[in-house]
Symmetry: C2
Subunit: 135 residues, 2 copies
Amino acid sequence: MILSENLSIYLQIAERICDEILDNVYPPGERIPSIREYAAMVEVNANTVVRSYEWLQRLEIIYNKRGLGYFVAPDGKHRIREMRREQFFRDELPKFFSRLYTLDIDVSEIEKQYAEYLKKKSGVLELNPPTDTIV
Amino acid sequence: MILSENLSIYLQIAERICDEILDNVYPPGERIPSIREYAAMVEVNANTVVRSYEWLQRLEIIYNKRGLGYFVAPDGKHRIREMRREQFFRDELPKFFSRLYTLDIDVSEIEKQYAEYLKKKSGVLELNPPTDTIV
DNA sequence: TTATGTGTATTAGTTTAATAGTACACCGCA
DNA sequence: TGCGGTGTACTATTAAACTAATACACATAA
């Protein structure tokens, strides 16, 4: 049985950190929380966060300065976006199309609901503008 | 840390069986392979398939006849479709929209690619028509 | 220099899904 | 009746991820 890799905790944490980097919670070049800090934040063992950071370092999204901590790579945001874009078209979109087909859902319905989604989003954005447009 | 439930093997098998039921590999009212048979097919321990079948029985997609085996419920296909439809609009679509937004992908691009998807699909279907339209 | 906070490394323990193997009761059929 | 195929139940084991705790070298600042 070929089983789909289930997302382990350390990868879920890595995903979360990527989200935060995209949201400019941790801007490019700046330091992210220490392993122990982040472990406390997400209520997880430090060793688990170690794996998350090692993983993100391998992807060159963050890098390490000995004795100081981990920092967001200058092009970290770009790397994340490119990786996710690739993943989206390769993995997620085919699954999505398959769902549309077997459930017999019309694309116009999706289009319509996405318009509503954008509308709500813009409403929220007026109150909470993205931090990198404020700077 | 609130972790997303990763799909365990027995649930992946249940999903696979649902796919097969939708594809009329196991038509409504008919028998599905025995636990030991299916375990051998997917190369997995029998206990794992036991859990899959128990799960699908709880969802009233299959039912049991003592000493005989498991059978597809008369409205099994309908149940699967309804469940997946609900799951799609509740879980998958919001995630999909979020991806579209953060990756700045236009819906027209999706629409275009889906048209191609349907085109390929129809090509395949001419060679492999769905079994329930043959009957 | 010393103290404190970094990451790193190591060892041991816990948890849970999946595996392995066995035994048993029910059903249909010969 | 008995045989072979069902599901069911149970115990024990394995494997992998996560947890727990500790020790240590490096960097900064008091």
